[in-house]
Amino acid sequence: MHGICQDRGSHHGRSRGVTERENSIMAEHTLVGKRVARIDSLGKATGQARYTADLTLPRMLYGKVLRSPHAHARILHIDTSKAEKLRGVRAIVAGKDTAGERWGVFRYTRDQQLLPVDKVRYIGEDVAAVAAEDEETAMEALELIEVEYEVLPAVFDPLEAMQEGAPRIHDHAENNINIHVPIEVGDVERGFRESYYVREDHFVNSEYTYCQAEPYAIVANYDLAGNLEVWMPNASPHTKAKALSNLLRMPLSKVKVRNVYTGGAFGGRSDIFPGEFIAALLSMKAGRPVRLVYTREESFTGVRQAHSMIVDLKTGVTRDGTFLANEIKVVMDGGAYSSTGPIATSVPFLVWEETYRLPNVRFNGYRVYTNKPIRGMYRCHGRAFLGGLGMQLDMIAEELGIDPVEMRLRNALKTGDTQATGSKIISCGLSEAIQQAAEKSGWQEKRGKLPYGKGIGIGANGMMVGFPMGIRGGSSAMIKFNEDGGATLISGVVDNGQGNDSMVVQVAADVLGLRMEDINLVSGDSEITPLDQGAYSQTAAFVSANAVKAAAIDAKEQILDIASDMLDAMVEELDIKEGQVFVKVRPERNVWLGKVIRTALLQDTPIMGRGSYIPRIDQKREWVSNPKGQHAGTFSFGAVVAEVEVDTETGQVRVTQVTGAHDCGFAINPMAVEGQLEGSVASGGVGATLLEEHYWDGGQMLNANMLEYKVPLSVDMPQITPIIVESVDPEGPFGAKEAGLWGSMNMFQAIGNAIYDAIGVWIKDFPITPDKVLKALEENKDS
């Protein structure tokens, strides 16, 4: 079954033109496209929504983790005997209690023992753990565990780590290179030879962190029948379950990752982390449930951070600013283990090829091991890199005397184009987004015309909606009905706060002619709900909601089929509204949905809607070995115009106004889409561009706390004007694509370019903190 896009035949022996059905549904929206209150907001506004640390199970124990004080050391011996004797301690686990399995997102990146047996590779790495009757006892027990280490030389800088003779962090990795992604398309040398203008630039970007509102937490409960239930904030229960099943050598069907409210993810809740593995081991050993809640410091260092990057860019253009050749080299500090390494290393390039027409490109991405905590994806990878390219584009535009908006429009991808590595664009509102953002922000009147210290800048992006994920790349959904006409939707969709749960209920209710409150939702549970990619790679609307829409259409067809006999009318003449099935031309001829459901039960044809969707991508495409072919089912596009004020005395940059347009395909709930846009202007935008970074003393993170890791507060935020562009994607549900990564992909370049407009300096070192602004001004004065 491929969504609603093929003629699916019928369970009742009748074939229908689904396109026609689709059209009739598209014609009369009751809910889709409307600003509706999200279904999860009542529980969250009243304190009834339960997050992992809120859960209590009978006889529950409290877990705590002993962490490595060394950046690189061999574990010689762990003595837990004293801790075991402490009153109230119920279980202790260390590497020797594990099966020794290694985990990595890909078969070829399995480099991490979640409780290491042989050595530790970063400060804060998990070494042992305790479960006790209360948290204080568990903490006391940690102090009684004696670990003998042989401290090894460590390396913290990726460029140093790549040198001959650098400490070797993993035996398998020559020069500590974890992943190398080489991509070459066209004839790059010829492209440069034929270029009218060629420019080279160097950009760098520090590490920063998600800093989700909710600290990481896990509850694990193992029973004697061999079932393991786990609750934790997560973006993909099925991915978590698969990893746990491998690592614990348990059947996948016995690992049950439950749904629980998640306090923000931003990419940082997708991979498997030691916490759930440890909580599971403790629960198995103690025979009791265990709750393990991370401190804020552990949430900074013990989960994931965003990669730091060192980027070299060379770009050649024709006289009119058309890209002829790009050469890009990126070195990323990956920390101690692979995590999503191959994805992380590729995406910085992909987001560039997803934005502009690039005839000749060469990319070399290196993800390098260092003795620092592990890096993962944060509101997509490689934004700083995209920021650099977006700033270099402005530099080139200035050299050629072209307006930056015009320069982007000249190179922007369009519907029907094929990207450098072979993905076809099936819907594209990039040019519209650039134009609307420019127009609404008053670009023409402001650019180059604002007083010194004030400036305006633009950024643009394309964004993959999904990528090859094998069997986990699709989603399926079911809908069952109760005898009162209410329904329960069962979908693998995952909600981390962005509103995915509400979105799928809105879609199902719209198709079925029900109110949202008539539909219960069971979602994101690895035992109960069907496979789904999770809130990962921007696919919830495009893939999960597509599956739900197909299931709702399937159920509707079954309902109308039964009702057609009851109302003595053709199926095509019927529709459902507010729980009544009626004849469209004579609405007074109707029947209550509950009665149809009961009739179906008596006829032994119970209404069970079923739908699925898997994006049309090239499943042979592989990140490292075969980076060509259709990468994603579709792509979203956006543009941001930022206005800044720079205090040249203090170096402080303030973003005053952000106007941005995003081609989300179709806004299922415009209010939720706006919320996504506004949010991405904050954490991935103002925060990541101007404020957020980590400070280090070797491998020790110095600001693993919220007092010294500065995130944007309400008073740091600009006025935001979100503009929704609807390109109506031919595959997406009602034309929808994604809405999450608009601001965060563009704010680096928009702010960097606006600072140039304001004070005439390019700052190529992110985040753009006041010291860098002052230094750049000073250097500019000297030159």
Partner: protein, 154 residues
Amino acid sequence: MEKQLVQLTVNGEEHDVVIRPNQTLVEVLRENLELTGTKEGCGEGACGTCTVLLNGKPVRSCLTLAVEAQGKEIVTIEGLVSNGQLHPVQKAFIEHGAIQCGFCTPAMILTAKALLDESPKPTEEEARWAISGVVCRCTGYAKIVEAIMAAAGE
């Protein structure tokens, strides 16, 4: 540390709790009274997620010892619904899409309620400053400010 018996008035109800004197209010609310609507985000007074009202003023319950709250009126998010009716601020947050992951929401709503109790018609700037002690990573604060202004308009 020796435990002691403490009386706390939470959401108009009196509770006897046996606690250690070093226990923070957030810990006692969550663990002893099972009022888990109050969240703990950082444990050091930086994020504001644990905000509750103490005699009508927003305080960080992770920096407040439970024993200090004796004899005072404590209001948590669970106490805002009265007779099954949502508080206008709760309603506005829901209607204006001011809630995403929801983890900061109880603190934001209580802080907004305290603002409106003291200053029923705040300017947008005042609303922004009022919530500047609570970190939100999802919304960019735009719809939160919008919701507070809408609640003030009622």
